[in-house]
Symmetry: C2
Subunit: 163 residues, 2 copies
DNA sequence: CTTGGAATGTCAACAAGGCTGACGTAATGT
DNA sequence: ACATTACGTCAGCCTTGTTGACATTCCAAG
């Protein structure tokens, strides 16, 4: 807080400022994943399962290709995770109606329950941080996050908001 | 930008807002690591090596225990990474003067050169995002990042600034 | 001076979750 | 008819995390 030079300077981008931003991202990401990670340990799932559940929950009926693009992993890697989720009855894979090659992904009741549990833990973490920082800081936070994405990622990110 | 409710509302913490923050962190972290990752592929190092180099560069002479606390991994995991960096002549491990059990870590010339290369790529990324977002957004960004850390992480984070 | 405990290093084994390459199958589009 | 697309799967590899066990070195307290 002592040297952020909020708005009065054009020379605020010193290497030290940037370095603090980099370290901030590193530490904050740890805090960000801590809560769901704690739930995940014990049940035999990891972050990869959490991410899949999150985005399937976010866009029910999403096909595999789209989920691959969002997660940014290979289909083999996603498939391993997805298979366990399907085998365990948390995710349902339905053959597409228009295009029968596609599989559309949905959470089952159990899947939705776990997703809710994970999501609530993470939202609680996020809510506490947002409350602490205040609405104006939050607006700035989101602006910078979006600016950090490359165009392709930003496209995916904004597409999630719009449906 | 359309629905952030900058400051005029107490009810800005809808689940949808929080969810967008969560997804924003996910996508932004990808953008954040993209530039150094690209340099690292080819040379046989990974993110773990980058992180070690970064924090040794930041606090030369740091002992192993402190680096372990910062990175949040086990000593066995760090040791494997550190071993390769030392063997490759990028990091030097000196026996402590006051306490000879401790090893103090320094970058060699080669280590500093690689760290600079990685760091510059990441700072360029960060600088572009900061420029795009503007100083006020950056101030907010940093406030939220800090609020997302648990007290222990925040302590480590702020200690880095103070030396 | 001896001894307990702390800091460090190392060996072994393992798991999660990335990756590539190759191949099969079904459905679609040309 | 044929190439392409979407998806699944097998096999194998890498990085980076984990635990447990154990040796060494050294400081500090008794």
């Amino acid at each position: 807080m002592s040297d952020t030079h909020t708005g009065e300077s054009l020379l605020f981008l010193t290497d030290e400022q940037l370095r603090q931003g980099i370290e901030g991202m590193f530490f904050a990401y740890r805090g960000f994943t801590a809560a769901p990670d704690q739930i995940l340990e014990g049940i035999s799932y990891g972050r990869a399962h959490h991410r899949a559940l999150h985005f399937i929950s976010r866009s029910p009926g999403m096909n595999v290709n789209r989920l691959l693009a969002i997660l940014g992993v290979t289909k083999q890697s996603l498939n391993r995770v997805l298979r366990t989720l399907i085998d365990d009855g948390l995710v349902e894979s339905r053959v597409g109606k228009a295009d029968k090659r596609e599989r559309h992904l949905y959470l089952t009741e159990d899947g939705a329950a776990l997703e809710t549990q994970l999501s609530e833990a993470q939202r609680a973490q996020m809510r506490a941080a947002y409350r602490k920082a205040g609405p104006e800081a939050v607006a700035g936070f989101r602006t910078v996050l979006e600016a950090m994405m490359d165009p392709e990622l930003r496209r995916l990110y904004t597409a999630l908001r719009e449906g």
